[in-house]
C-alpha cells in the first residue's frame, strides 16, 4: 500500500472541496429541497399506516441521495482530470493503479460523509429523537455507502474520456439509481421488474440499513426490506467488487 500517494490524492480532493463553495452549497441544497419541499408536499398525500410521517420516512433516502450525488460527482472528477491532463501526472507516477483507485474512493468517502453528517444534523427539525449510538451508526453506514458509491463512480469514469458524457451519467444512471432505491417509496410497493432492479442497486441497501437504525418498527409498508446484516454485507461486498473492477479497468493500456 502506498500510503503517501493515497493520502495526497485524498488531501487534494478535500482541499478542492473546501475551496469550491458553490459545489458544497449545491450538493447540500438539493437534499434540503427534496426533504422540505417534496417531503412536506407529499406528507399531505401519504397517510402513514405505521406511525412515521412521510418527511421522516424519506430522511434515510435523503441521506442516501446526498451520498449518491456527492460520491458520484467526486469520482466523475476523474473524467475532468483526464480532460485537463492531470490524470497523466498521476498515471506516470510510480504508484499502483490499485492505490490510485483506493485514493479516489476514499476522497469520495470523505467529502460525501461530511455532507451526509451536515444533513443528518437536521434530524431535530423533522421530529426525530436520536441517541448517540444511532447517530454513530448512521455515520458509519454513510461512510461505507460513500465508499461503495465512490468506487462505483470510478468504474463509470473509466468508460468516459470527456465531460460531455456527464449528462448521460446523470440522467441514465444517477437519477434511476435514486428513484429505484427505496428513498422516496418502499421498494415492496414497486412492480416486479422495478423491484428487481432496486435489488441490484447498492444504494437500496445503504438506505435500508439506515432505516433499520432510524426506525423502531420492523413490520408494515414503511419498514426495512432486508435484514440489517444483509444490507451491510452487500455494501461491503459490492465495494470490494467495484474496487477490483476499477483497478483492472485502470490498468488497461491502449
Amino acid at each position: 500500500m502506498e500510503f503517501n500517494a493515497i493520502y495526497v490524492i485524498v488531501a487534494r480532493e478535500f482541499k478542492k472541496f473546501i475551496r469550491e463553495r458553490s459545489r458544497l452549497i449545491s450538493t447540500i441544497a438539493r437534499p434540503l429541497l427534496w426533504l422540505f419541499i417534496v417531503g412536506t408536499g407529499m406528507s399531505r398525500l401519504v397517510s402513514p399506516d405505521t406511525g412515521v410521517p412521510y418527511i421522516q420516512f424519506i430522511f434515510p433516502g435523503i441521506l442516501g441521495m446526498t451520498i449518491l450525488f456527492s460520491s458520484i460527482f467526486s469520482s466523475i472528477s476523474i473524467i475532468w482530470d483526464k480532460e485537463f491532463g492531470f490524470m497523466k501526472e498521476i498515471l506516470v507516477a510510480p504508484v499502483s493503479r490499485f492505490s490510485i483507485v483506493i485514493g479516489k474512493a476514499l476522497s469520495g468517502t470523505v467529502v460525501s460523509t461530511i455532507q451526509a453528517v451536515i444533513i443528518l444534523a437536521l434530524f431535530p427539525f423533522i421530529g426525530f429523537k436520536l441517541g448517540i449510538l444511532q447517530i454513530i451508526w448512521v455515520i458509519l453506514i454513510s461512510a461505507a455507502l460513500s465508499f461503495c458509491l465512490s468506487a462505483f463512480g470510478i468504474v463509470l469514469a473509466t468508460f468516459y474520456e470527456s465531460y460531455e458524457s456527464f449528462s448521460v451519467i446523470m440522467n441514465f444512471i444517477i437519477m434511476p439509481m435514486f428513484f429505484l432505491s427505496g428513498a422516496m417509496y418502499p421498494i415492496k410497493l414497486l412492480p416486479d421488474i422495478l423491484n428487481l432492479i432496486s435489488k441490484i442497486n447498492p444504494l437500496t441497501y445503504g438506505i435500508d440499513a439506515m432505516k433499520h437504525v432510524l426506525f423502531q418498527f420492523k413490520t408494515g409498508t414503511m419498514s426495512p426490506d432486508f435484514l440489517f446484516i444483509i444490507d451491510i454485507a452487500v455494501i461491503i461486498g459490492t465495494s470490494v467488487l467495484f474496487v477490483i473492477v476499477a483497478g483492472k479497468l485502470f490498468e488497461r493500456k491502449k
Binding site: N4, K15, G85, K88, E89, V92, P94, Y163, E164
Partner: protein
C-alpha cells in the same frame, strides 16, 4: 552509457502506423532531440517510453529497465513535461509540487525543502501560493519542469516544452533547459518542431511519418546539406563571377545584387576570396545551413509550424467551465 534504448519500436493505431520501426540510443547526461512535423510520432514515442502506451512491437529500456515489464522502475526514474499542461489549475504552485513529492514518495523531511529548491530554480518561489490558473503560459511551463525534477529523475522528457510561448519566454526556457544536465544530472529527451530550438541538442533524430530519417549532432546533420552559403557583392559582379569560377572552381550564381555559392568551410573560404578579388568587394555574408535546410533536403518539404494557439486553449477552458456549472 546508453540510458534510453529503443529497439525496432512500432506503434499502430488501428490501421495508422504512428511509429514505424525506429531504433536509437540516448547517452547519459546528454540532450537528445526528436525533431519532426505535426503527427510525426513524437508524442506517441514518449508515451510508450513513459509507460502510458504499450507498443505494437519492439522493445524500450530506460536506465536498464524494460518499459513494458518493469513499468514501476521506469516510472521512478523519469520525469515528464507533457505537450499539454498537466497541472491542477485549482491548486497553488506549491500544492501542485507537494502533491508530486508525496506521489513519488519523497522522504518526509526532504519534501518541503526539495519543493522550495525547484521553485527557486525556476524563479517562482515568490508565486508559490498563487493558484496556477493565474499563471502565464511560460510560468506554467517552468512550474511543470520544476515538478518533473522534484523526485530527481535520471531522464527528463520534455514534449514541445515551448509550445504556445512567446519568443522571449521560449528563449528563457531554453537557457534554463540547457543547464539541466549539468545542474540536475539528468538526461533530456525533448521534442520540438522548431528548428532553432533543436540546436541545443547534443544529438537529434529527425522523424517524419513515424520513421527516423536522419540522426546525428546538429553540426553533422548540417554537413549533409553540403556546407555554407557565401554571399558576396562587388563593384563588378560579372568579372568577379568569372574570377571565382576560374580560381576556386565554385559554381557561382547571381541573385539580385549578390553573387552566391556553396562552399564546405565558409569561414576559411571568405578571407581567401577577399584576398584574391581585392579592392572590389562591397559586402560579404555567410549563411550557415539550418536544420530546416536539412529537413527540406531529406523530405522535400519544410516543417510546418502550426501550433495550438493559446486562444484555442482559452476557448476550451470557457466551454468546460460552463459545462461544470
Amino acid at each position: 552509457m546508453a540510458i534510453i534504448t529503443v529497439e525496432n519500436l512500432v506503434k499502430k493505431f488501428d490501421n495508422l502506423t504512428a511509429v514505424n520501426n525506429i531504433s536509437f540510443e540516448v547517452e547519459e547526461g546528454t540532450i537528445f532531440g526528436f525533431l519532426g512535423p505535426n503527427g510525426a510520432g513524437k508524442t506517441t514515442t514518449i508515451n510508450i517510453l513513459c509507460t502510458l502506451l504499450s507498443p505494437t512491437s519492439g522493445r524500450t529500456f530506460i536506465a536498464g529497465h524494460d518499459c513494458m515489464k518493469e513499468p514501476a522502475e521506469v516510472r521512478k526514474s523519469i520525469g515528464i513535461v507533457f505537450q499539454d499542461t498537466t497541472l491542477d489549475k485549482d491548486l497553488t504552485a506549491y500544492e501542485n509540487l507537494i502533491f508530486h513529492a508525496y506521489l513519488y514518495n519523497v522522504p518526509k523531511n526532504e519534501r518541503q525543502e526539495r519543493v522550495y529548491d525547484v521553485l527557486r530554480f525556476v524563479d517562482l518561489f515568490d508565486r508559490k501560493n498563487d493558484l496556477v490558473k493565474k499563471f502565464s503560459g511560460g510560468m506554467k511551463r517552468r512550474l511543470e519542469v520544476a515538478r518533473g525534477l522534484i523526485h530527481r529523475p535520471s531522464v527528463l522528457f520534455l514534449d514541445e516544452p515551448t509550445l504556445g510561448l512567446d519568443p522571449q519566454s521560449r528563449a528563457n526556457l531554453w537557457e534554463f533547459i540547457k543547464e539541466l544536465p549539468e545542474k540536475h544530472h539528468v538526461t533530456i529527451f525533448m521534442t520540438t518542431h522548431y528548428m532553432e530550438e533543436a540546436e541545443v541538442c547534443d544529438r537529434i533524430a529527425i522523424i517524419d511519418n513515424g520513421k527516423i530519417i536522419a540522426m546525428g549532432s546538429p553540426a553533422e546533420l548540417k554537413m549533409t546539406v553540403g556546407g555554407d552559403i557565401v554571399y558576396i557583392r562587388t563593384t563588378d559582379n560579372v568579372k568577379t563571377q568569372e574570377e571565382i569560377k576560374r580560381l576556386f572552381g565554385f559554381d557561382v550564381s547571381e541573385k539580385g545584387e549578390e553573387l552566391y555559392m556553396t562552399c564546405l568551410m565558409g569561414d576559411t573560404c571568405i578571407p581567401e576570396m577577399i584576398r584574391t578579388i581585392g579592392e572590389g568587394v562591397l559586402s560579404v555574408r555567410l549563411q550557415r545551413p539550418t536544420l530546416n535546410d536539412v529537413f527540406l533536403k531529406l523530405t522535400g518539404k519544410a516543417i510546418r509550424e502550426e501550433e495550438a494557439s493559446e486562444g484555442d486553449n482559452v476557448k476550451e477552458h470557457v466551454r468546460a467551465y460552463r459545462r461544470r456549472q
